[in-house]
């Protein structure tokens, strides 16, 4: 197919799809005049009912916890598939990598920044029900803490800290714990992923009940998944750059 033909076909298709989409959005309530009852109800009941200050995390980990479990498992399978597709590199391919940053100042600042980022990640996760944040965002920040070691110290130091041997169990444990909490609730006579622990005081660190554990489980799963994805990409890169490289 020639490029002109392809573009002409796309033009016709895009016109039709665009017209359909515009037709669709024309009947939506006007911007700024949200009409649906659900968000309004959640916003009113979240504080008295669940003792959580952040309505968004309350929806993610409590009201729609089952939905989030699905998302968690998508993340889990995507990360596993990346590992499966990219893991062709043997350990001896990356053993000859010389990648150390030769600056004491940079190393020192890097370690400091990594530790600070780690603490920041724990803060973001822990305050998920109080201020914007939570398991998803905190999990990615947690993975970033490891990446800073790669950027400022050395590839092998990163590898030792965040080996796939460490990331994979972490990811599996997080995803497993998420499901397990739902099953524990089920065993105690509640519905699946229903909040069954004391709810605590709104705005305090110890609030959220069993949804707080779900929050931490998803933080571990997200952090593990992203460390795994990053490790696979970095490993392939290092092998292609420095190793003998059978294929890539």
């Amino acid at each position: 197919m020639t490029n002109q033909l392809r573009l002409a076909l796309f033009g016709v298709g895009a016109l039709c799809v665009g017209a359909l989409l515009v037709w669709g959005v024309l009947d939506l309530p006007a911007f700024g005049h949200y009409a649906g009852p659900y968000g309004e109800i959640i916003a009113r009941v979240v504080e008295p009912q669940r003792h959580m200050a952040n309505a968004v995390t309350a929806v993610v980990f409590d009201y729609r916890g089952f939905d989030t479990m699905g998302e968690e498992l998508i993340l889990f399978s995507a990360a596993s598939a990346v590992a499966l597709l990219l893991r062709e590199i043997k350990e001896e391919d990356t053993i000859s990598v010389v990648d150390a940053v030769r600056s004491d100042a940079l190393n020192g600042v890097g370690v400091l920044a990594s530790v600070t980022t780690f603490v920041l990640a724990l803060y973001v996760v822990a305050h998920g029900f109080i201020s914007p944040g939570g398991g998803f965002q905190g999990g990615v920040v947690l993975a970033t803490a490891f990446l800073i070691v790669f950027l400022t110290v050395e590839y092998h130091a990163y590898e030792r800290l965040a080996t796939t041997r460490f990331a994979e169990p972490l990811e599996s444990f997080g995803a497993g714990a998420y499901v397990a909490i739902g099953l524990v609730g089920l065993g105690l006579g509640f519905s699946f992923l229903e909040n069954f622990l004391p709810l605590g005081v709104t705005g305090r660190l110890r609030s959220g009940g069993s949804a707080a554990i779900v929050n931490w489980a998803s933080a571990l799963a997200v952090a593990g998944a992203f460390v795994l994805i990053f490790s696979e990409y970095l490993e392939g890169n290092m092998a292609a750059r420095y190793g003998r490289g059978r294929r890539l």
Binding site: V56, P132, I229, G236, A240, L248
Partner: protein, 82 residues
Amino acid sequence: MVPLQSVALLFVALGALLVVLARDVVRQALLFSLYGFALVVLFLVFQAPDVALSALVVSAVAYPIVLVGALARVAAHRKRRG
């Protein structure tokens, strides 16, 4: 609509166009990160701080590592083959 929202909308619309029109993949990866930050600003002015935080960590860390990782891998391989 608040003026700030209009400006953010404009930046996002332009950003998306620039990202898809970029032919060079490295330039596109850079533009995609900028587009990500335009989205972060849009989410902020739409009163969605949780979403903004999520988009921020993703466009600042996750996408660049994956994209640059893949591009560098392909580039190293092409260089090796000459």
